[in-house]
């Protein structure tokens, strides 16, 4: 899958957001993670916030399987499951 990544602006992140993306990337080596660009279409949009506010703007990006947000490394296992669910949904549309 092609997953667009949008970071919040990082004014006071409670963890290393870049490192979190590296962990996610390594956990899903067959998926492509790219920094989201307006006008491009992604299978999924991943928003990585530095705190619970997770204030990154993302309405201007297009994604087939919707948006997943993480604002803590604790969210990563759940995110990885959601990526699989989205993959199934995209590969096996009803």
């Amino acid at each position: 899958m092609k997953i667009g990544v949008r970071f919040c602006g990082g004014c006071n992140p409670r963890y290393d957001r870049g490192e979190a993306l590296d962990i996610i990337r390594k956990s899903k080596p067959n998926d492509e993670f790219v920094h989201a660009v307006e006008g491009e279409e992604y299978d999924m949009l991943l928003v990585i916030g530095g705190c619970t506010n997770c204030c990154a703007s993302f309405d201007h990006f297009n994604s087939l399987a919707g948006v997943e947000k993480v604002w803590s490394t604790e969210h990563i296992p759940e995110l990885l499951e959601e990526i699989e669910i989205a993959r199934n949904r995209i590969c096996n549309p009803e």
Binding site: F7, G9, G10, R17
Partner: protein, 490 residues
């Protein structure tokens, strides 16, 4: 088109800005060791705009062109934009531990945009369109603009037109068919030398006699007749020392202020935003000051974050990190710092649209924000110095720590003696301890204290200016009615 940090630095080299320091004209001011750290700060505003981890705060979509621009050139379109401004400023404070100088331009853009709209509405002038055309040029070329407000002011008891020397306020000395000629100066100008352009605004509300002083305009930093005299800072000549490093505390970054002198500078008509409509001088001042008082709820918080981190490291290195009073002092520093942030976010969240369409902060809350900024950084500094210990101002120089000069009876070198006697917890080297203590010195009473302390006091207006605004906005009569209603007073 967004510039990279490197492109920004190179763009400065193309300017012919006239700069004086220590009685001399500085030709290569871009690489001057006293000035360069402040350029590095501004460069950071470009570098972070290129980094995906920060673009959400550092960039915005222009309301004028639809293009992606640096947020520092943005007209706030919502309360979300106002909040993101504060967050961006906190981020930059964290990355530089200094004043990064670009806020004054942003605050000037938003104040001049809304004020010119209302002037044109009353007088049918074309200042608003002049300003829109100018801002499009700034956004397109991703330029730095110094928003210049503070005149030298001379005798504070006298209005501009009553001063013995009229030059103590920027004023119009000649009106021509194609423009005006201005004269005077702006003092304490943050980032002026590092800016491509200047926007000049009046410094106080004015009466009819002050018409010639009610003037706002834009001009290039290297305009004919314009020059700048660099403001020196505490410990500034340490930057001139050979191999200056540890003793600087913050080698990479710093702030900058200068006196900007207008020696009969010609301003063409299309760069004029206010020219004699004296009753709007106060509006422009109040709006700029409001935005700038909001700004301090972001930038100083970011610097405070770094100082709190430095104090915590000093405690670790001193072996005092487990002491309950040290922990409590770090909690107090954090509490004070986050209170400032609360004020910055609050005045943004309570913002509202102006007649021109851009968003203005809540004036009462912005003034409360800045009033707290005149106090809390001083207490944060006091606590940082308490935790750091006296060594931050008494330790030998870095040269002594590195010296091979034999001074001991057993042949110990000066460096070995210094390293031996200033060692502390085993978790750090003596050099690491020296580095963090010098860093704290830099922020508390060295070159960066200009930005973190005195600028917190006087920047965006001295404390009394905020108290006047708080008095105006405080809604005391309504509060009296509240008390009467509950106390049974009719």
């Amino acid at each position: 088109m967004l510039m990279t940090g490197e492109q920004y630095v190179e763009s400065l080299r193309k300017l012919k800005t006239r700069v004086y320091m220590f009685g001399e004209k500085i030709d290569n001011w871009v690489d001057h060791p006293i000035i360069r750290p402040s350029i590095n700060c501004v460069k950071m505003t470009y570098d972070l705009a290129q980094d995906p981890q920060y673009v959400d705060l550092m960039t915005a979509k222009s309301s004028l062109t639809g293009e992606t621009i640096n947020r520092f050139a943005h007209l706030h379109q919502s309360t979300d934009d106002l909040r993101k401004k504060v967050k961006m400023q906190r981020l930059l404070g964290q990355k530089t531990a200094s004043c990064f100088q670009r806020c004054v331009g942003m605050d000037a853009f938003n104040a001049v945009f809304s004020t010119t709209f209302e002037i044109d509405k009353k007088y049918g002038t074309s200042y608003h369109q002049n300003f829109i055309n100018y801002l499009k040029f700034i956004q397109k070329n991703d330029l730095i603009v110094d928003g210049a407000m503070t005149d030298p002011k001379g005798d504070r008891a006298l209005a501009p037109s009553k001063q013995r020397d009229k030059d103590l306020f920027v004023h119009i000395v000649e009106r021509r068919p194609d423009g005006i000629v201005v004269r005077g100066a702006k003092a304490h100008q943050t980032g002026s030398i590092n800016s491509h352009e200047h926007i000049i605004m009046p410094t106080i509300a004015m009466g009819e006699d002050d018409k010639d002083f009610a003037v706002s305009f834009a001009c290039p930093s290297d305009a004919e007749g314009l020059y700048m005299i660099y403001g020196r800072q505490s410990c500034d000549t340490r930057k001139l020392e050979e191999n200056a490093d540890i003793d600087l505390g913050n080698k990479k970054f710093g702030g900058q202020e200068a006196l900007v002198v207008f020696d009969n500078v010609f301003i063409p008509n299309d760069k004029i935003f206010l020219c004699g409509e004296f009753e709007f001088a106060g509006m422009m001042v109040e709006r700029f000051a409001g935005y700038h008082r909001q700004s301090y709820g972001g930038c100083k918080v970011g610097v405070g974050d770094v100082l709190i981190g430095a104090a915590a490291l000093a405690a670790d290195y001193n072996g005092a990190n487990k002491a309950s009073h040290v922990k409590d002092k770090l909690i107090e520093m954090t509490h004070l710092n986050e209170t400032l942030y609360c004020c910055g976010i609050a005045c943004s969240a309570e913002g509202y649209p102006t007649q021109a369409g851009n968003y203005q902060i809540d004036l009462l809350l912005a003034n409360v924000c800045k009033q707290n900024v005149t106090r809390f950084p001083y207490e944060i500094v006091r606590l940082a110095e308490d935790i750091a210990g006296g060594l931050m101002v008494t330790m030998p120089s870095a040269v002594d720590f590195r010296s091979d000069l034999k001074v001991g009876k057993d042949g110990e070198t000066l460096g070995e003696v210094c390293t031996k006697f200033f060692a502390a917890a085993p978790t750090c080297t003596t050099e690491e301890r020296m580095r963090i203590l010098r860093f704290i010195e830099n922020m508390c009473l060295g070159a960066s204290a200009v930005g973190y302390r005195t600028e917190s006091m006087h920047g965006a207006g001295s404390p009394q200016a905020q108290r006047i605004m708080i008095a105006r906005q405080g809604n005391i009569e309504a509060k009296k009615e509240l008390a009467k209603a509950i106390a049974g007073i009719k």
